[in-house]
Amino acid sequence: MAETFSVKKYLRDLKLPFCPGCGAFTVMDAFLRAVYELGYEDLSKFVFCSGIGCSSWIPSPYFVADSIHTLHGRSIPVATGVKLMRPDINVVVFGGDGDIVGIGLSHFIHAARRNLDVLVIMVNNMVYGMTGGQVAPTTPFGAKTTTTPYGSFEYPLDAAKLAVTAGANYVARWTTAHRNKMKEAIKKALMLKGFRFIEAVSQCPTAFGRRVGFKNALEMVRWLKENSIPLEQAEKLNEEDLTTKIVVGEFVQRQRPTLTETVSSKIKEAQKNGQN
């Protein structure tokens, strides 16, 4: 490639809304690099759906593309309607952990079950960042947040494992400390079909990090890196040893028939039978 990559190629000329040190910058960069390296000159073959939360602002309205910034938790249902009526377009959902596996959890499971042809990129910062740092379904056990001032007393949800169980065609988890791996996973996911889920574990220095003892974003990213453990190694450990670890890697890759494939074959059948 003669020209060098620049995110500006894909972005509207607007000031980005993220705090300094936010992991959303890294995820946005990884996604746009993946798109660039796959040879997309622009985003005209994509539509982006997102919900409410900081990471839902990654595509909307910053990407020069069609984007639907939906209600909190409802990006996947909206993406379902979009994809079924326009199977030719790549539908990508961006959302946070609260949006995708908190308020929108049911849609996440059912979309994976249906094998809906969308790529969901969930930026997991382990907290409700936009509202100031409340406990999330992904907050580590014991962590202090504004609504768990004595430490969280709930166990966090493993979204990647859940997606595998529910039936996703592709599932990977990386952190913002694994920029290249994350980009490669996005590239791979964009070339596959069916429900694809990438969990991007990320840092929120503003609403989470400073409350749990990190001085800055860099410390958080280092922590993400040091606490990550590849899936192959994690399989050899017991559950207790893994409670403070972030298991990273590719959780599944398979080729179950996708929703748009099965729906379109049923429509053809109905049209044929309907004519008789």
Binding site: P61, I68, G81, H107
Partner: protein, 382 residues
């Protein structure tokens, strides 16, 4: 079979709604089973794929209306159907569809509430919810059919209004009208007025303002449309603090409905300029109107009525006219007073507005009960 052929059918109300939707161009339906609306989903599931459309049963009503909104932005006419509990769940997204100017049709087949209430029994308790159910400053278009034929014609009108004004439209039916079977006349296709959303021209960029109803692109057409339920400018860019942008947007969204009440509001009027007793009714309850006119006449009482086909925006002028022509207006409803207060407000004290209410068990206000109340109010009882 493709589209319903012109002719005379004996259909259930819900079936007429589904066939009309297909004729109106609906090609996407998402829903969740709920009595007494389920037959719409079942009928669509069988029929829509035959004309190349998609039906998906979603995990709940939140997802159903979400998928409908997505399909609409993908260029399809789209519909969902539900009843009270599901309608409650959809309210947030109805506000989203209003704010993002997403045409779609929501059918609410009313049953007796609140809560699970009497799931199989008729009620008219969602009238105010259909107007004020979502949060924020909002204007609704709500249609009210009172026969199977009107389940057909008003479903088509619901799509036309949604496309014309780029807004969600609610078809507020009820268990009686949705479950009864009656004759339906399907006119030839060329006689049906079908309205489609106005599309932008190449190079257009303002899809959320400058015009009362801006043109609507679909995703995937190269317009780079940014859709958001947050306050946005004419180009879809978020402005979450600017007072002027918010005022401009929300006043236009309400104005595009409120400024066209005369065109949107539709009603059947009878003897409104010369009557002893006036009546205002809608939906299943209004079916008794046709029976009481003769009975009252026999006792020397002239009945005039306004039968509302559109509940919202409320046709204030027509009600005021009725109030000027008579001293008493009776408002029969299968709820504990909802449209009654609107009639009272619109009557501006020119006539006494009297509620007649009955709830529970799906029991209708019978023509006999209505007639007896009319005669009582006219001083002719006994």
């Amino acid at each position: 079979m493709g589209l319903a052929k012109p002719g005379v059918y004996f259909w259930q109300g819900n079936e007429a709604c589904a066939e009309a939707a297909i004729l109106a161009g609906c090609r996407f339906f998402a829903g969740y089973p709920i009595t007494p609306a389920t037959e719409i989903a079942e009928h669509m599931a069988r029929r829509l794929p035959q004309v190349g459309g998609v039906v998906l049963q979603m995990e709940d009503e939140l997802a159903s209306i979400g998928a409908v909104i997505g399909a609409s932005w993908a260029g399809a006419k789209a519909m969902t159907a539900t009843s009270g509990p599901g309608f409650s769940l959809m309210q947030e997204s109805i506000g989203y569809a209003f704010m993002t100017e997403t045409p779609c049709v929501i059918v609410d087949v009313q049953r007796a509430g609140p809560s699970t209430g009497q799931a199989t029994k008729c009620g008219q308790g969602d009238v105010m919810q259909s107007r004020w159910g979502t949060h924020g400053d909002y204007s609704a278009i709500v249609l009210s059919p009172n026969s199977v034929q009107e389940m057909f014609t008003q479903t088509i009108r619901a799509f036309n209004l949604a496309e014309k004004y780029r807004t969600p439209v609610i078809l507020l039916s009820d268990e009686v009208v949705a479950h009864m079977r009656e004759k339906v006349v399907v006119p030839p296709l060329e006689e049906l007025e079908i309205i489609n959303r106005r599309k932008p021209k190449p190079g257009d960029k303002a899809f959320f303002g400058f015009e009362e109803v801006p043109p609507m692109p679909s995703i995937g057409e190269g317009f780079n449309v940014a859709v958001t339920g947050s306050t946005h400018d004419e180009y879809g860019i978020r402005f979450t603090a600017d007072p002027l942008v918010h005022r401009r947007l929300v006043e236009r969204l309400n104005g595009k409905i409120q400024n066209h009440v005369d065109e949107i509001a539709d009603m059947e009027s009878y003897s409104v300029e010369d009557c002893d007793v006036g009546l205002v009714a809608y939906g299943c309850t209004s079916r008794a109107l046709y029976d009481v006119v003769g009975g009252a006449k026999a006792k020397g009482v002239t009945v005039g009525y306004v039968r509302l086909r559109t509940l919202w925006p409320f046709p204030e002028k027509a009600i005021k006219k009725l109030a000027e022509a008579t001293d008493k207006i009776l408002v029969p409803e299968m709820n504990l007073r909802q449209i009654f207060y609107e009639v009272q407000r619109a009557a501006e004290g020119k006539a006494k507005v009297i509620p007649i209410n009955k709830i529970g068990g799906g029991e209708l206000i019978t023509p006999e009960e209505l007639l007896s109340k009319i005669l009582e109010e006219a001083g002719k009882s006994g």
